[in-house]
Subunit: 207 residues, 2 copies
């Protein structure tokens, strides 16, 4: 496994602040790699993207790819990070009913609905991002959703074990499951959303 702490600082941060700034050539290579990755995914799908092909297509060495992103999953995560951050911002700070201001119940329902939409849009990328790194349940984003659901459950006065129940509800939104339902069984996203609403309603109802 790669050492997470060795992954260089994110772009977009104020250049002077924090740890040592990124070298020019490194930044240029990152842009090249991301562009090449998006291109390859557009052409061959996320599964068709291999690290060797990416390196070649971007005109850099393979070592550089891994230095940048740590792993294939890390690359996919980077590709997703923009939309991911957007999603997180929306459910934490955005307008109701997803964001604060609506009752917990409605926020829970919205959360599931939005997550389902998200998976429908970025499904294969999400899958590729999960498939590598050890423990999809320890990923920062997953932890955040878990806490979010837990908080909403507590807000609704959920009784015995909000933390575990939050995990169970989150497990219900597993991307691989959602995609399998839609792609293999032809279930409509609307039906998924309805089922989520039903589940949440039953779980929260009465304590």
């Amino acid at each position: 496994m790669s050492d997470v702490s060795s992954i260089p600082p994110r772009p977009g941060l104020p250049a002077g602040a924090g740890a040592a700034a990124e070298r020019r050539d490194a930044a240029r290579n990152r842009e090249r790699l991301l562009a090449a990755a998006r291109e390859l995914i557009a052409d061959c799908g996320a599964e068709g993207l291999t690290m060797d092909r990416l390196a070649e297509h971007a005109g850099v060495g393979k070592g550089t790819v891994f230095r940048r992103f740590g792993s294939r999953a890390g690359l996919m995560l980077t590709l997703l990070s923009e939309s991911e951050a957007d999603f997180q911002a929306r459910f934490m700070f955005g307008p109701p009913p997803l964001g604060p201001g609506a009752p917990g119940m409605e926020r829970l329902i919205s959360f599931g609905a939005e997550r389902i939409s998200y998976v429908m849009e970025f499904g294969d990328l999400v899958l590729a991002a999960e498939h590598a790194s050890r423990g999809r349940f320890e990923a920062p984003a997953a932890v955040l959703w878990h806490r979010h659901i837990e908080i909403l459950l507590r807000e609704e006065g959920f009784g015995p074990d909000p933390w575990l129940m939050a995990g169970s509800l989150a497990a219900t939104l597993d991307p691989e499951r959602l995609l399998s339902l839609v792609k293999v069984h032809g279930v409509s996203p609307e039906r998924l959303t309805a089922s989520w609403r039903d589940l949440v309603t039953r779980v929260v109802r009465g304590a």
Copy 2:
């Protein structure tokens, strides 16, 4: 991906019946391989078992291993098949409250409890069996549990979409999640079982 239909017939069937019987040397090699696999797993854990090492340890060629089991996941599945079949028999034909005879509600609760025990006992094997083959939700065993839960839900008069709800409940018992909870977060299996009971109760209660 390997062609499932090419996997040879199971042992234990009456020798004369059905498709062509298995050749002696093939049978002998399967036994050797299974014995070697169990040995390796006992020594190094399921993760320590590689197909090359298995082939070497069993004194056969690598091709033979794949001819027998199709894939690493197939091998793991074979290793699990005995206990798996036992589990299936118990919830389908065994004594209540797990088997028929008890109310659907109690059978549901028992099902989760037993599944949790099962994962606690064979966790790493189950994980290894899942990790490879495309679509853990299409595996025969998974389909069976899904149907089982669905039937119990219907028996309890569950309303809108028993099939999807059954899938959601099953997703809650995902082995990777359960193992992560126990091994990473130190949650006790009893607490898992209690949470499952709570979830099922809330879901079924009142329609």
